[in-house]
Symmetry: C2
Subunit: 345 residues, 2 copies
DNA sequence: TTGAAAGCGCTAACAG
DNA sequence: CTGTTAGCGCTTTCAA
């Protein structure tokens, strides 16, 4: 009982070709009243063209794949939302893939997406060193844009990033500009380009000021609340009784910062009076904890929309004016730093 | 330069049919060594079958559409994740659609999904009264399962729900069992089946106990933090100086509860000593506010996975043993009630 | 402005 | 066990 283009053609007393033309609303090639008639019949009968057939004939699907580590992470869900909004406007649908930071799953997904015939891919990659699965995409001439995580040389692939180095430097500068500052920097896994660059920013800020090595302690977490809690807790408890070995903490994401806040509260260390804390990301949660978290804000939604726009551009066959977009971060000072700029709700 | 099944067939010196058989790894119909050889050639050449062609031939796409209000809402992203995990295991991909609670967008998406040839749909509908777009799905014989929001009669369509009435009753019972309780119930939009049922639960608990009408004040918010804040704030400020008109607040979701907490704190009303608060959902955020929020927990991840399982079942052409799954809620008492069960981290 | 016809790459009878 | 063949529903030259 499926309606096809031939059915419409028969009812309208024209050929399939004509129906196809109005379906793709081509300006030329169809008389205005023929078009009108066909349009009406399509509406009356509730005709819906088959994406398969169209895809097979044209090689395009009006859909793109988005691969991210985990949609449950609010940062990524914002990113996806940003992408979906702009893709939808151009009629594209979106395949969601959660890689769980697993490069193997990621490759599987790339492969699946190709089979499905997506017209493009937005990829927040699990790994920074190897662009091997990108070759697949290149081979099939499927455009893609990287987002968030840099793979190899940033200029090598089209991508939308945030200036992580600057972000790190921003937070570090805030801290290091205070005399006698001793900073505990809890970074994410150093293999990630983000972690790497944030650390470079911190170290750069330190070098600029000729600070002694003791001004900075670095630890590595895994971006989870627990790890922020754990690492902070360890630092505190190790020196029981004695003076704290740090005056401030910078954490490479907000989740870890929230963990740190918990550990600090538990140890009865006043924030921001005794210890100041800055996170990274600026997820909604940051405004909701007590005190509200100061953080380096990055525009997740915009990263999504920008990468989608770039992809749209590429899918349209146009050359990108610039292959790489670097978005800026900014420091949002709330309740966990002595300086503030936003008033809490 | 695209590899097709014919290329493989030629290289292997067999017919397309044979290649097709191994591609779909049918047990019968291919000699073991022929199969081996073909498999190798496919691997070597990096052959990837065209989903379009396959879809056109079989009418199936190994993909399903998921329509939710907004992926940014942590409740829905959990739900989606639950669905994706089980779908992936069976080789299905997932099309993500954000309806923004807009029934029009929702219909558009349903239509798009049909065009795309999805094999099934998971739908968290924007509206409770009209199942009109479901007819489209019915016509095309595309299975679907409703989730979270009930449309019309729950038994009419297959679906996975949470027992919202019970959830409302649970929270109400906790409050109403305290002598002299006066409850402020801030519900969501009453058009939503969830709001409707939660309210029924609350009212049921009240009737059971023969409480006077004054024991319950009801207000309606829109599920946002702001509305929780606003409505609570109004209630408080209206009676300046005088006694509070309520001893406890139940809010139909956690976001509003967090808003209420803010308003209470601002008015220097101690929680839970002066006023107890219970939310609904149990999103991650609930554990992170101060004090951690007591709430009616609903299993978002499980709702996603269950609905995906049901859909898988239907797509396999099997009959469902039960058309409707009703998941249970439970009361999670944390820091905003005088009784507690969980110790904060 | 319109139509005829040849695919797009795969599956699924049906034969052999 | 394997091959032949006829589509699946649409697009797209090329002719008319």
């Amino acid at each position: 009982m499926k309606l096809t283009i031939s059915d419409i053609a028969r009812q309208a007393g024209v050929s399939k070709a004509t129906v196809s033309r109005v379906l793709n609303n081509r300006a030329e090639g169809v008389g205005p009243q023929t078009r009108q008639r066909i349009l009406e019949i399509m509406k009356e009968t509730g005709f819906q063209p088959s994406g398969f057939a169209r895809g097979l004939a044209t090689g395009r699907s009006a859909s793109v794949g988005v691969i991210i580590p985990d949609i449950v992470n609010p940062y990524y869900s914002l990113l996806v939302r940003g992408a979906e909004d702009v893709l939808k406007k151009s009629g594209y649908g979106l395949f969601l893939c959660n890689s769980d930071h697993d490069i193997v799953k990621e490759k599987e997904y790339v492969s699946k997406l190709i089979e499905r015939g997506v017209d493009g891919v937005i990829l927040d990659s699990a790994e920074s060193d190897c662009g091997c699965h990108l070759e697949l995409l290149d081979e099939k001439k499927i455009p893609y844009v990287l987002v968030d995580r840099i793979i190899e040389d940033p200029s090598k692939y089209p991508g939308v990033y945030v200036d992580n180095r600057e972000g790190g430097a921003l937070a570090a500068a805030y801290f290091f500009d205070q005399p006698g500052c001793r900073l505990l920097f809890i970074n994410g896994p150093i293999e990630y380009s983000q972690s790497h660059l944030r650390q470079a920013g911190v170290e750069g800020a330190m070098r600029q000021r000729d600070l002694p090595a003791e001004a900075l302690i670095i630890r590595y977490g895994d971006f989870s609340i627990e790890s922020g809690f754990q690492l902070t807790h360890e630092m505190i408890s190790r020196m029981d009784g004695q003076e704290l070995p740090f005056t401030s903490i910078f954490l490479a994401n907000d989740l870890m910062a929230i963990g740190a806040l918990r550990a600090l509260k538990r140890a009865n260390i006043a924030v921001p009076d005794q210890v100041e804390v800055i996170g990274f990301d600026d997820i909604e949660l940051a405004t909701l904890v007590e005190p509200p978290l100061s953080t380096v804000s990055q525009p997740a939604l915009e990263m999504g929309s920008r990468s989608a726009s770039m992809l749209l551009h590429m899918m349209a066959g146009k050359k990108l004016r610039e292959k790489t977009v670097m978005l800026k971060t900014h420091l949002t000072l709330r309740g966990t730093t002595r300086e503030k700029q936003e008033s809490a709700l």
